[in-house]
Symmetry: C2
């Protein structure tokens, strides 16, 4: 099943979208918003699924989907937690800011609490305030959970994954080193993230989802040129159930919690990168200094994941960089 | 005006409470929840105020308020940001974990993004999992904002403060040092915080609110004995408008954002403390080792703020420590 939110009000209007991402139909009679659907998933999901089947087999016509009119599938969330499960990314990013690798890195996941009160839609511009802030993208895979009890084990945490999304975790590289030096994690360095046009149930990933990782390339283009296609199932040191269990160690997680994989990154450098900072670190290693600049006005970043038949699973995030209004 | 939420569902039922905290009346015909009221504050607040006036002058009877039946005024928030504005607290806590004071501390506020998806009610128990986790309380003052635009200045940020609350920011001292050493801030070390019975509009603070700070003692008792009564208006290095401006530097903040002052702390040690860790640090300085243990099952912490006439402004938080269920 594929779900989206039409841009309207703070939470959007819940849509069921067909598998091909061509057509959609509002389902506010079943649940007004995705948040509400997640809060009562066991009761609501079968009814949404019935609409999805009808939309796919032509029994329900719906309307032509225009992704430009979509908000994030979950336009705001009570909890956005971002892991950093690809250690290749962690190593490269820390190298860039001269930070050491923490000792417990191989056994204890890195994860931060992010701001999820205003998630961006898939085609929303990224606003640029100051070139010195070092605007960057980060392509990720994310899961959205139902209510997760405190202390859930990695063995059972996967049962709480209701939906997958793609995420563009926007980062301000120039602000992050002094911010992290204060010891309280990210705040100004991580403005609002953007989500893919649709969120999908695990079955839409077919065999690519093994209950722990998503084994498909995550394709990022910058200004319509290849930037990276690392496999999200490779080099993921902490899988999604482990990330959920980590987040829930000392408290429950409420329905609608969004947990990101962290920037997808493979050790094989032929797969490219999912953020500018990694590319700059690789350039510095190869030539002595980075040559790719951070995002500037007019740049466009595009993030998509195709299934093994070459079909888009989530639709694509495509964001243009624009000066901030006002 | 004073507002509370009766425990029901995920967001509670919005109540207007009289000034004396004796009586309350549901106002779901005006706004079903506090979150919804905050999203449309300019239209909703005058209608709530009319009910408040009637409740105070006897024109509206309401029912007897039972704070045991209250959820947090805002039972869940899309954003919980906790400052650390009292440098006395910062110095003492960092001393405890052997961390250095960051250089930019005097000009750049410390603030972390917390988890606000399941805030505790004023009488909810604090669940204790493991004595080695070092369970602690932190008494704070917090503000709840309406929609705050990105880049708001400290000069105008105060206009976005709609409500004040008291906060018990529960902390797991044993988990924090290794967590912060990873560099991504707090996650497991900060389980859900508790809020006071009611949230109040700025006018309820009368002259104690000068537009920047709340000049009243915040009284904490532990097991019915005095623990601390530092003045929230003293030694607050970064005032509330400055904290809001800091939070909004790179992104807007959506209505219902909760921003905490950090643990209230005065340099005058006769005022006691607002958390166990500070007391332990002071004991260690005086006698060579801390003597006050962290919270154990059966302990009770109580947090309240009285106005200059000795009347409770927010009601009191009183939480007992209990073993976690299951």
């Amino acid at each position: 099943m594929k779900l989206a939110s039409l841009r309207e009000g703070r939470d959007g209007v819940l849509l069921v979208v067909d598998r091909a991402l061509d057509r959609a139909t509002p389902v506010t009679d079943i649940a007004p918003t995705l948040q509400r659907a997640l809060e009562d998933w066991d009761r609501v999901a079968p009814r949404l699924e019935t609409v999805y089947v009808a939309l796919n087999d032509g029994g329900e016509q719906g309307f032509a989907l225009d992704s430009d009119k979509l908000a994030a599938p979950l336009p705001r969330t009570y909890q956005w937690l971002d892991g950093s499960a690809y250690l290749t990314h962690v190593e490269r990013v820390r190298k860039a800011r001269g930070a050491e690798l923490p000792e417990q890195l191989l056994t204890d996941p890195l994860m931060y609490q992010g701001g999820g009160d205003t998630l961006l839609g898939p085609r929303d511009p990224i606003c640029l305030v100051d070139d010195n802030w070092g605007l960057d993208f980060e392509a990720e895979v994310g899961v959205i959970t139902d209510d997760v009890p405190m202390g859930v084990s990695p063995e059972t945490a996967g049962e709480h994954i209701r939906l997958f999304v793609l995420i563009n975790d926007i980062s301000l590289r120039g602000l992050i080193p002094p911010e992290l030096a204060k010891g309280f994690g990210f705040l100004q360095g991580k403005p609002s993230s953007a989500l893919s046009p649709v969120a999908v149930t695990p079955d839409e990933l077919e065999d690519a989802w093994d209950g722990k990782k998503v084994h498909l390339p995550l394709v990022t283009d910058l200004n319509r040129a290849f930037f990276g296609n690392p496999d999200a199932g490779e080099d993921m040191h902490f899988d999604f159930p482990t990330l959920i269990s980590h987040a829930a160690r000392t408290r429950s997680l409420s329905a609608g919690t969004l947990i990101g994989s962290g920037t997808v990154s493979n050790s094989d450098i032929r797969r490219g990168c999912s953020c500018l900072l990694e590319k700059r670190v690789l350039e510095a290693i190869e030539t002595g200094k980075p040559s790719t600049p951070f995002l500037k006005s007019g740049d466009r970043v595009r993030i998509e994941m195709l299934n093994t038949k070459g079909r888009s699973i989530f639709g694509y995030i495509e964001q243009a960089v624009r000066p901030c209004p006002g």
